[in-house]
C-alpha cells in the first residue's frame, strides 16, 4: 500500500461500493483471459510448422475445422503479420495475444485486489483499475480496425477479446464512479501531495503490469525451439535461368535478391502469401519473377480436375500483359485476379468461358491475345519449366537465389525464414 493514504478518507455510503461492478469486471477479464488463451494456444500450436485447426467460436475452446467458412476470418487474422511482433527475430514472432492474456490476468489480479480494499485506497485503486482497463480496450480498437480495414476479416475469438475489453472498461468505470460517489478525497491534501500519491500508485501499477507482461513474453521467447536450422533446407532449383522466357516480372527491384515465385492467380493461398509478403516489407528486398502454375486441368496435366477453375485463362491473361505492350501490366492483371478470385472461380464452375469473358471485360486490350496459340504455348512452357525443375505440384512456392523457402515457412514463419535466406545471401 502506498504511504500516506490509510486512515485519511471519509465514508458516507456502503462499506464496499462498486462490489457488483468489480465482480462483473473480474468476470469480463477472466473471459478476456480465456479468449486470449485460446488465441495464444492456436498460435503456439503452429510452432511445430504444421497446419492445425483453429478455435474460432464465441465459446472459448470450441474447435472449428480450418476449412470451414467461419474459420477463415480467424485463419486470416492469425496468419497476418499483425498477429505477432518481432517476426524477423523469432519464428512466428511473439503473439500479441500472449501479452493480451497477461494484461487480462493483471486486471483480474487488480480486480480481486480492489475487492479487498477499503476507503480512499479503494477509490484510488478503482481509479487506476479504470485507467488500466483502457489498455486492452485501446489495443482491441487498434486490432479491430486493422482486422476490418486491412485484413477484411472477422475473427470470433478476437471479437470475444474486444467484447471482454469493452465490458471490463464499462464495469471498471462504474466501479470507480461508485467509489467516487461515496468516498471523498481528503480536502486537506494539497495538489502536489495528491499528485505524488497518484504517481506512486501509477508506478506500482505499471511495474506490476510490466512484470505480468514481461515474464511470460521472455519465457515464451526463451523456450522457442531453434528454427534457424531449417532455413534453406527445403531444396533448391538447378538453375534460375529463364531460357524459355516463361517468367513474368513482378516488380522493378533490379537490385533485390533474385527470387522466383511459382503461383496460381486463382489460388487463395497465393493471394494470402502475396499479401503477407507485401505486409512484411521484405518484398522490397527481392526481385521477384513469377512462374505461372495454374492448378487447372484445362492446361495443366499434373492435376486431376480443376482445383482452381479458370486459372489457365487468367494465367494466359497475365502472360499477355507481360511487358505492358498491350496496355495493362501483368501486375495489374494479377492484382485484379486476386481481388476477383472467388467470383472468377465460381463463374468458371458453371461456365468455362466465363473467366475469359470477365477478364476481357476488365482488360479489353488483352481479349485477342487470350486463347491464342502463342500465349498457350508460353503457358505450356511455364508448366514444363516446373517439370524440368522437378518442383512440387504446389502453390505458392518461393525460391530466393534458387533456394526454396520451406512451405512450412510461408505463413507464420515467413518473415523469420525469408530474412534468414536473405541474410545468408548477404542481401541488405
Amino acid at each position: 500500500m502506498p504511504p500516506g493514504i490509510r486512515g485519511r478518507d471519509r465514508y458516507h455510503g456502503p462499506a464496499m461500493p462498486g462490489r457488483l461492478h468489480i465482480a462483473i469486471f473480474v468476470l469480463a477479464c477472466l473471459a478476456g483471459v480465456a479468449f486470449a488463451s485460446v488465441s495464444t494456444f492456436d498460435f503456439a500450436q503452429h510452432l511445430d510448422r504444421q497446419v492445425h485447426d483453429l478455435h474460432c467460436s464465441f465459446i472459448p475452446g470450441q474447435r472449428t475445422a480450418a476449412v470451414d467458412g467461419e474459420a477463415v476470418g480467424c485463419q486470416v487474422t492469425l496468419m497476418s503479420p499483425y498477429s505477432s511482433v518481432l517476426r524477423t527475430r523469432i519464428w512466428g514472432g511473439l503473439p500479441i495475444s500472449l501479452p493480451g492474456m497477461a494484461v487480462f490476468a493483471f486486471l483480474v489480479f487488480r480486480g480481486f485486489d480492489l475487492l479487498g480494499r477499503r476507503g480512499l485506497a479503494r477509490r484510488r485503486a478503482a481509479g487506476w483499475l479504470f485507467a488500466f482497463s483502457f489498455v486492452p480496450l485501446l489495443t482491441s480498437a487498434v486490432m479491430g480496425g486493422i482486422a476490418l480495414l486491412e485484413l477484411d476479416a472477422v475473427c470470433k475469438v478476437c471479437i470475444g477479446i474486444y467484447g471482454a475489453s469493452l465490458v471490463a472498461v464499462l464495469a471498471a468505470g462504474l466501479a470507480y464512479a461508485s467509489c467516487r460517489r461515496v468516498i471523498d478525497e481528503p480536502e486537506a491534501d494539497s495538489a502536489p501531495a495528491r499528485l505524488a500519491g497518484n504517481g506512486v500508485w501509477a508506478l506500482v501499477g505499471l511495474a506490476q503490469l510490466g512484470a505480468f507482461v514481461g515474464v511470460p513474453s521472455l519465457g515464451y521467447m526463451g523456450l522457442m525451439p531453434d528454427y534457424s536450422r531449417y532455413v534453406g533446407t527445403c531444396g533448391k532449383l538447378a538453375d534460375t535461368d529463364d531460357a524459355g522466357g516463361v517468367m513474368v516480372a513482378l516488380d522493378q527491384n533490379a537490385g533485390g535478391a533474385p527470387a522466383v515465385e511459382v503461383f496460381d492467380p486463382l489460388c487463395p493461398a497465393c493471394r494470402a502469401f502475396d499479401r503477407r509478403l507485401a505486409a512484411s516489407g521484405l518484398a522490397a528486398r527481392l526481385h521477384r519473377r513469377a512462374v505461372l502454375f495454374p492448378l487447372d486441368d484445362t492446361c495443366n496435366w499434373m492435376v486431376e480436375g480443376a482445383v482452381h477453375p479458370g486459372a489457365c485463362t487468367i494465367s494466359e491473361a497475365i502472360l499477355c500483359a507481360d511487358g505492358g505492350k498491350l496496355g495493362p501490366t501483368s501486375t495489374a492483371v494479377i492484382d485484379w485476379a486476386f481481388e476477383a478470385q472467388e467470383n472468377l472461380r465460381t463463374a468458371a464452375k458453371t461456365d468455362a468461358t466465363a473467366p475469359r469473358r470477365l477478364v476481357s471485360e476488365r482488360f479489353p486490350e488483352l481479349a485477342a491475345c487470350i486463347g491464342s496459340a502463342e500465349v498457350q504455348q508460353r503457358l505450356n512452357k511455364s508448366l514444363r519449366w516446373a517439370v524440368s525443375h522437378s518442383i512440387p505440384v504446389l502453390t505458392p512456392q518461393l525460391y530466393v537465389g534458387g533456394v526454396k523457402l520451406c512451405p512450412e515457412d510461408t505463413d507464420l514463419g515467413l518473415e523469420y525464414s525469408l530474412t534468414g535466406l536473405l541474410e545468408r545471401r548477404g542481401t541488405p
Binding site: 500500500m1 483471459v33 488463451s37 495464444t40 494456444f41 503456439a44 500450436q45 503452429h46 510452432l47 511445430d48 510448422r49 504444421q50 497446419v51 492445425h52 485447426d53 480450418a66 500472449l98 492474456m101 497477461a102 490476468a105 493483471f106 483480474v108 489480479f109 480481486f112 485486489d113 479487498g116 506490476q208 512484470a211 505480468f212 515474464v215 511470460p216 519465457g219 515464451y220 523456450l223 522457442m224 525451439p225 531460357a243 524459355g244 522466357g245 492446361c299 496435366w301 499434373m302 496459340a373 502463342e374 498457350q376 504455348q377 505450356n380 512452357k381 508448366l383 514444363r384 516446373a386 517439370v387 525443375h389 522437378s390 518442383i391 512440387p392 505440384v393 504446389l394
Partner: protein, 237 residues
C-alpha cells in the same frame, strides 16, 4: 494469512498463469517438431497428403511397345543419350519398329485426338497454308507431352529410293516449319522423325476421319500416304 501476503500469492498466481500455459504450449510444439524431424508420426488434426512432383504426362495408351518404339526412334535421332547436337539419321523403319506395319500403325490409334496428317501434293515436300495451319495448331497444343513424332510417308508411285528421300524431305519440311515458327529451345529434344517412304506401315482409309490438311475428298490411299503423320506423345520414358 494477512492481506498483503494474500495479495502477493494472488499476484503470483495470476502472473504465472500465462507463463505456465504458454510455456507448456511452446514446449509441446517443440517436442512435436523434434518428432517430425525424427520421422515419427505426430497426431495432427490436419490431413496433409504427399505432394506430387511436377512430371510430364504419361497417358494410359503408353504401352510397352509404344515406349519401345519411342525409345528407339529417340535414340536413333540422337534425342536421348549423349545429349550432343541432334542429327536424325535415315533409319530402317522396320528394324526400328520390329513389328508389322499394321501393328505399328495400331500403336498410334489412341492418339486420334492428339495427332494430325499433313498431306502433301504429289512428289512435293512443300507445306501449303492448310498444312502449316494444322501443323502449328497441333504443335502449339503440347500440354504435358514430352515428344512430338513426325512419321513421313509417300505414295507408291516412283522408285522406293526416291520415295524414301521424298518422305525424308517431308519430315524435314515439318521440322523446318517448327523451327522457324516456334522459338522452342527444347525443339531438338522433343521432335522425333521417321521417314517410311512407301515401304512400311502405309496408312489405310480409317485415318481419313482424323485431322487432315487435305481436302475432304482427297483421301484415297495414295493421297493419305503423301503425308507426314504428326502427334504429340504423352508418354514418359
Amino acid at each position: 494469512m494477512n492481506s498483503l501476503a494474500l495479495r502477493v500469492v494472488l499476484g503470483i498466481a495470476c502472473a504465472s498463469a500465462p507463463m505456465v500455459m504458454a510455456g507448456g504450449w511452446v514446449r509441446g510444439a517443440g517436442k512435436r517438431l523434434e518428432k517430425i524431424e525424427a520421422g515419427e508420426a505426430v497426431a495432427d488434426d490436419a490431413d496433409e497428403g504427399e505432394v506430387a512432383i511436377a512430371t510430364a504426362a504419361d497417358e494410359g495408351y503408353c504401352s510397352g511397345d509404344l515406349r519401345k518404339i519411342l525409345r528407339r526412334v529417340l535414340q536413333s535421332c540422337g534425342l536421348m543419350g549423349s545429349g550432343e547436337v541432334r542429327g536424325c539419321q535415315p533409319v530402317q523403319a522396320k528394324s526400328v519398329a520390329t513389328m508389322t506395319g499394321e501393328d505399328f500403325n495400331a500403336l498410334f490409334l489412341p492418339l486420334s485426338q492428339r495427332a494430325g496428317i499433313i498431306q502433301f501434293d504429289k512428289d512435293s515436300a512443300e507445306l501449303d497454308a492448310a498444312d502449316s495451319t494444322l501443323l502449328d495448331k497441333l504443335f502449339a497444343d503440347q500440354r504435358g507431352a514430352s515428344y512430338f513424332f513426325v512419321v513421313a510417308r509417300s505414295s507408291p508411285e516412283g522408285s522406293a529410293e526416291h520415295n524414301r528421300e521424298l518422305s525424308q524431305k517431308r519430315a524435314d519440311a515439318v521440322m523446318g516449319r517448327l523451327r522457324s515458327v516456334f522459338n522452342d529451345p527444347d525443339l531438338d529434344r522433343e521432335v522425333g522423325m521417321l521417314w517410311l517412304g512407301e515401304e512400311y506401315a502405309q496408312l489405310d482409309q480409317d485415318f481419313c476421319s482424323w485431322s487432315r490438311s487435305g481436302a475432304a475428298d482427297k483421301c484415297k490411299p495414295k493421297d493419305i500416304n503423301r503425308s507426314a503423320f504428326v502427334a504429340w506423345i504423352d508418354c514418359r520414358l
